[in-house]
């Protein structure tokens, strides 16, 4: 029986469990609203000093990447610099301590014209590689260990092209020993009037089954992608490619979902398949199974019309159709205008990410905000959002109370646990202004534990991109898809975080990318575990 069938059979029980479980987890704070975490600005103390610089060609992009490149378990950091060189920071934080980064010796990643970066272990050697999105040629950087990297375009057969690259997503197609990477490109930067000049997105598939890349395919039509995500939206076992496009520049375009099936040419889902026509200023994608029905929801950032897309109900025995309704208003995540200050103009949203920032067992949403440049129709002082999920599934704004309501013209960002204390921290890249780093110091006593999990499997796709991790916590099953892509030009690899509420232990299992469902394992809350195939969870501690 497939995972899909299992999910469908268990759906009613899961939904019933949801109501029970949420009540038990959250009841202590039902009258007070969600516990608000405290984020302390440690940018300067941690040693971060990076600006996403440049004019017109850098109005989009501005990403961050977090990954471990020196095998100490702590996520290191790369920040796009725009026209200035990107900056690499080695994480020198101590467990649970203040955040500390060292710029130090050159890593090889310090290229100019970088708009964004995504980590993934392309060649499966256990050392993290990175793809640098750039104005001009994209560059694959092979990890050498010890946080040293070298250019690998030629060695990997990767054609970096010459474009304005702004999005990336990666997956391992079934049977492949090498990843498939989709790269989203923006407008023709040589054009004086670039409206309607969206350039081709590219699909870099393996040469044969790998190693190495074949010449890229053009994903036509292309509509100025600003975010891409390979995601198993229908739990079929084969991820499709979601593309969020900027309607500012396309003509005749819309949001897209591509079928990418092994051995076949990519093909768009159409209205005949159930795909609904949506046109927004698509800038970022975040995904998570918020309602625990087995299917991810998708948050799409835009300008005043951010969407939270939920799959239309799937009739019993029928295949899911890619038809999504917008529940942003119903769930309180429209985030369409500033919530502090006097500026009532609409907001401009970029990176979005779901994580449980207060460890209450309910996934929250961060949205990076900032004017494109000096667009007078939109808010100039546009604070980032931190929307905390409540037991009823609705979200409430807490960015100001949490201390992250910066108005520094944000672009990319990452919610990552940099000091591995079970609380996700936050880094934000800002246009023309210094990046910001906040340490999450928690939401007070009794607000719950955080669990960090890392996946490992032998052979290619060592980090199990495409897997689903499930955490049974009380009566609820939290579920997240392990992806490379989405957000705004920003990617993370390594530990995946789960908030456990008041639970002291949980059960975890992995639905591996090949469809194998691993067994449930009991783990203690506040732990860090490496989940391997056919092995018990391995506790991990630094040093």
């Amino acid at each position: 029986m497939t995972t899909m069938h299992l999910l469908r059979r268990r759906l009613p029980a899961l939904l019933a469990a949801l109501a029970i479980g949420v009540g038990s987890l959250i009841s202590a704070r039902a009258d007070e609203g969600p516990a608000v975490p405290s984020f302390v600005d440690e940018t300067a103390a941690a040693g971060l000093d990076s600006v996403y610089a440049g004019d017109w060609e850098y109005m989009v992009g501005g990403g961050a990447a977090s990954f471990d490149c020196d095998d100490d378990g702590f996520p290191d950091l790369l920040l796009a610099g725009g026209e200035a060189p990107a900056k690499f920071y080695r994480n020198a934080s101590e467990l649970g301590g203040a955040l500390k980064f060292e710029e130090g010796a050159a890593s090889g990643l310090e290229l100019d014209a970088v708009t964004g970066a995504y980590p993934l272990d392309i060649d499966g050697d256990g050392r993290m590689d990175l793809v640098l999105l750039r104005i001009g040629e994209n560059v694959v950087m092979r990890g050498l260990g010890g946080c040293k990297f070298e250019r690998a375009n030629e060695a990997f057969g990767f054609d970096g092209g010459d474009g304005w690259s702004t999005a990336l997503a990666a997956t391992w197609e079934k049977g492949a020993s090498w990843p498939t990477i989709a790269i989203g490109n923006y407008i023709d930067r040589s054009s004086v009037m670039p409206w309607g000049s969206c350039t081709d997105n590219w699909l870099h598939r393996p040469q044969g089954s790998g190693p190495g890349f074949a010449p890229p395919l053009a994903l036509t039509p292309s509509y100025c992608a600003l975010s891409m995500l390979f995601t198993d939206w229908n739990r079929s076992g084969t991820p499709a490619l979601r593309v969020s496009n900027d309607r500012e520049y396309y003509k005749g375009g819309q949001e897209q979902l591509w079928r990418v099936e092994p051995g076949k040419a990519p093909a768009l889902y159409t209205e005949a398949d159930g795909w609904r026509y949506v046109r927004i200023w698509g800038m970022g994608i975040a995904s998570y199974d918020l309602d625990l029905d087995g299917f991810p929801e998708y948050y799409l950032t835009s300008m005043a019309d951010n969407r939270l897309q939920k799959l239309a109900p799937v009739p019993d025995g029928a295949a899911a159709k890619p038809s999504y309704g917008d529940v942003a208003l119903a769930k309180g995540v429209t985030a369409h205008r500033p919530y502090v200050g006097d500026d009532v103009k609409p907001s401009t949203a970029w990176h979005a990410q779901f994580e449980d920032v207060n460890n209450d067992g309910l996934v929250d949403l961060f949205v990076a905000k900032g004017n494109v440049a000096e667009m007078p129709d939109f808010a100039a002082l546009d604070p980032n959002n931190l929307l905390l999920q409540q037991p009823d599934g609705k979200f409430v704004e807490a960015g100001d109370r949490a201390g992250v309501a910066s108005t520094r013209i944000a672009r990319g960002a990452l919610l990552t646990d940099f000091n591995l204390d079970g609380r996700v921290d936050l880094v934000v890249v800002n246009r023309w202004k210094g990046a910001e780093l906040w340490r999450n110091t928690g939401a007070g006593e009794g607000t719950g534990a955080g669990l960090l999990l890392k996946l490992a499997q032998p052979g290619p796709n060592r980090d199990a991109i495409g897997a689903f991790v499930e955490v049974r916590c009380g009566e609820r099953v939290l579920r997240r898809e392990i992806t490379v892509g989405g957000g705004h030009a920003s990617g993370h690899a390594g530990w995946w975080h789960f908030g456990l509420g008041g639970e002291t232990e949980a059960e975890v299992r992995v639905l591996w990318p090949d469809g194998t469902a691993g067994p449930w394992h009991k783990v203690a809350a506040e732990g860090r575990f490496v989940l391997g195939r056919d092995a018990d969870p391995m506790p991990w501690s630094p040093g």
Binding site: V192, M193, S197, D326
Partner: protein
């Protein structure tokens, strides 16, 4: 090495603006300058979020009047000023004494200054295009002229623009907050009153509820071409209101490919098209190009059309908020089918009358007066967006199709369309009656 694919349409626009490899070195004619600016502002309208259809119509009106007065000032044809004919427009500045003026430079300076102000809310790419296009056109029209002529013509053009822009400042529509959606608005009580239809928080209030109070251009006020009330709200299947709701529902069920094509062709959604008034501006530009029209004709057509489109939105919005009628999607879900979905996105403001119908009626009235009763044409406005051209036997045929497109799209009831077209005809007559020639 991967190559960048650029859509052919953009390359055509660039070449037209003199940025392409085939750019001619000779000075452009003044009507060419004007057309190139309209080509740019049709893009800027699409890419400036504040430009909902009413706001766009206002910008087209002032841009048209500015270009027209520049044409009057340089003695094009037998044109006469609109000062004293349209509401509150005082006499234009006199030309500098004893100065040689060049028509192309005056038009360029006037329209550039007006466009910068009227379309200045655009984003960074629009700002960049404004600067590059202005610099390129300013250089090309000045090529070979005495410096004194260029300076005098530029200064005079800017003075004309400043006069028009000063006139525009107190009409009630100059400042648009929050894309036109008020922070507070008390929704009307009762099932027949407008209810929000969008899931966007911003659109839980209606767009520009006071737009109908703006100063008009050619007609006396927003109330001038008022309409009878729409059919009384009723859930009685025998009532006219219910029958009209059922007609919209049935139309959705029975939509043919041609009906879908019509609905999409005229949809003209803000941020995804030049907007409905921009669509009619595009039609006029196509007709003028077909005719090989000179500056005087361009200026006359664009001024009268811009004026009537702006008046149409003021008059239409006046009636929309007078009657505050509920949209079909709300009614049909309540009375007929709770899961009903219209083909098009329902706009966030009251239903009656149809803005498409009023403005299309007004445009057809003005353009018919200028181009004739049976002017057949083919409209290629949306070819870049993949929507094929459509052909019409007359301007009124196009207007009527624009009207009925809203019923196919599930946006409007029949009465809003029929009476909207009537309102447009009434409004258009005022602009058509403006004296533009000696």
């Amino acid at each position: 090495m991967l190559a960048i694919r650029t859509m052919a349409a953009a390359a055509v626009v660039m070449a037209g603006l003199g940025f392409g490899p085939a750019a001619a070195a000779e000075r452009p004619a003044p009507e060419t300058v004007l057309r190139e600016w309209y080509g740019l502002v049709l893009e800027l309208v699409r890419h400036t979020p504040t430009y909902s259809p009413p706001v766009a119509s206002r910008a087209f009106a002032y841009l048209g009047v500015a270009a027209f007065e520049a044409s009057v000032a340089v003695g094009e044809g037998d044109l006469v000023s609109l000062a004293g004919q349209v509401q509150a427009l005082g006499p234009l500045p006199a030309p500098p004494p004893d100065a040689a003026l060049d028509a192309a430079v005056v038009v360029q300076a006037t329209v550039a200054a007006a466009a910068r102000e009227l379309f200045g809310n655009t984003g960074p790419t629009g700002q960049r295009a404004l600067k590059l296009v202005e610099a390129k056109l300013a250089a090309s029209v000045a090529d070979g002229l005495p410096a004194a002529t260029v300076t005098a013509s530029t200064d005079y053009g800017r003075a004309i623009a400043a006069h028009v822009l000063a006139w525009s400042a107190d009409d009630g529509g100059a400042v648009i907050d929050n894309m036109g959606f008020p922070a507070d608005f008390a929704l009307g009580d009762g099932p027949g009153r407008w209810k929000p239809t969008s899931t966007f928080d911003q659109q839980q209030r209606p767009l520009l509820p006071r737009w109908g109070e703006n100063r008009t251009f050619a007609m006396p006020s927003g109330a001038t071409c008022d309409l009878p009330p729409p059919p009384d709200y009723s859930d009685d299947p025998a009532s006219r209101f219910f029958i009209e709701a059922k007609e919209v529902y049935d139309a959705r069920v029975q939509l043919s490919d041609e009906h879908r094509a019509i609905a999409r062709f005229w949809s003209d959604d803000p941020m995804l098209s030049p907007t409905p008034p921009g669509h009619w501006i595009s039609i006029a530009l196509q007709l003028l190009e077909q005719d090989g029209a000179g500056l005087d004709r361009h200026a006359e057509v664009m001024a009268k059309l811009g004026i009537t489109l702006a008046d149409a939105f003021i008059g239409c919005w006046h009636e929309k908020f007078r009657y505050d009628l509920v949209r079909p999607v709300t009614v049909i879900r309540r009375m007929i089918d709770p899961k009903w979905e219209p083909l098009l996105i329902t706009p966030p403001f009251p239903e009656y009358p149809s803005g498409h119908s009023t403005q299309s009626g007004a445009a057809a009235e003005v353009l018919t007066a200028l181009f004739g009763e049976n002017r057949a044409f083919t409209d290629r406005t949306h070819e870049d967006d993949g929507l094929p051209a459509r052909s019409f036997p007359s301007l009124w045929a196009a207007a009527e199709e624009a009207g009925i497109s809203r019923l196919y799209g599930g946006i409007h009831f029949r009465a809003a369309i029929d009476l909207g077209l009537d309102q447009g005809r009434c409004i258009g007559a005022y602009a058509a009656a403006l004296r533009t020639r000696k």
